[in-house]
C-alpha cells in the first residue's frame, strides 16, 4: 500500500548478483515511497559500502559462503538498514581517517566515511559486526 512502511530481512553470500538484488530491492521501495534521486544514490552507495566491508573485512578468514544479513524498514519518513556479519567485529574508532593529508593516497578505508557522509545516522553495535544506518526523507524535494 503506498505510504505504508515496508520491511524485510535478506540473507546473502558474497555474490555480485545477490548484492545487486538487495540494493535494488531497497532502492526501488524507497522510490515507491517518494525518496528523491539524491537520496536513492546515497542509499545505494551506503548499502554497497556496508556490504563490501562486511564481506571483505568482517568475514576475513571465514568460508566464502558465510552469509550476512540485511534488514530494512522503509517508511515515508525514514529508511533504516542494518547489515550484520558473522565475523568477530571491529572497532570503528580505530579506522584511520582517510581524509587526512597523510592518508589521502592510501587506496583503502573510505567506506565508513562515505556511509557517515551520506546517511543521517550510522552506528555500530558494541561487538562491531553490525552497522545500523538511517536516512531521513529530505525536507525539500
Amino acid at each position: 500500500m503506498p505510504g505504508s512502511p515496508m520491511s524485510g530481512q535478506v540473507s546473502l553470500v558474497n555474490d555480485r548478483d545477490q548484492i545487486n538484488a538487495v540494493q535494488d530491492l531497497v532502492v526501488e521501495q524507497a522510490e515507491e515511497l517518494g525518496f528523491p534521486n539524491g537520496a536513492r544514490f546515497a542509499l545505494r552507495l551506503a548499502i554497497e559500502e556496508a556490504i563490501v566491508n562486511a564481506f571483505r573485512h568482517g568475514h576475513r578468514g571465514l568460508p566464502d559462503d558465510t552469509p550476512i544479513t540485511v534488514e530494512y524498514t522503509i517508511s515515508p519518513e525514514r529508511i533504516n538498514v542494518a547489515i550484520e556479519d558473522r565475523g568477530p567485529g571491529f572497532v570503528p574508532a580505530a579506522v584511520p581517517d582517510p581524509t587526512l593529508d597523510e592518508n589521502l593516497e592510501n587506496p583503502g578505508g573510505r567506506g565508513l566515511v562515505l556511509m557517515r557522509a551520506y546517511m543521517s545516522r550510522v552506528r555500530h553495535n558494541d561487538r562491531g559486526n553490525r552497522v545500523e544506518m538511517e536516512l531521513l526523507m529530505p525536507d525539500e524535494l
Binding site: 545505494r44 552507495l45 554497497e48 559500502e49 563490501v52 581524509t99 592510501n106 573510505r110 566515511v113 551520506y118
Partner: protein, 119 residues
Amino acid sequence: MSGSDSRIRVKEVDGVTQVEFIDRNILDEANIQAIGEEIDRIIADSPSPKLLISFANVDHLSSAALGTLITINTKIRNRAGKLCLADIDPQIYEVFVITRLNQLFDIHESKEAAMKAFA
C-alpha cells in the same frame, strides 16, 4: 585495444590514452580489479603515460573504485606521466569531495578541457 570482455573502451588521441567505462556502475570488485589490470598494462606500455579517464557513462562509483584510481595515479606519477579525470556527474563528484580526492586528482569538466591540460 579493448577485448570482448574488457570493462573499458580505449583510444589514442594526440598522444593521450583516453579511457571510458563500459559499465554504468563501477561497484563490482572483480570488475574493478579487471579495470585496474587493463589500465596497468596501458601504463606499462608507455615510458611516460598520459591517461585521461572519462566518467561520462558512470552512475555509481564505490570506494573500491576510488582505491583503484589512487593506485593508478601513483603508478602514473612514478613513471613521470600524467592522469586527468573528466566528465564526472555532480553526484559522483560529491564522492570525490567528501573523500577529499578532488584535491588529489586533476579533474576537468570535459574531455576537451582535460586534453588542454596535457598540451
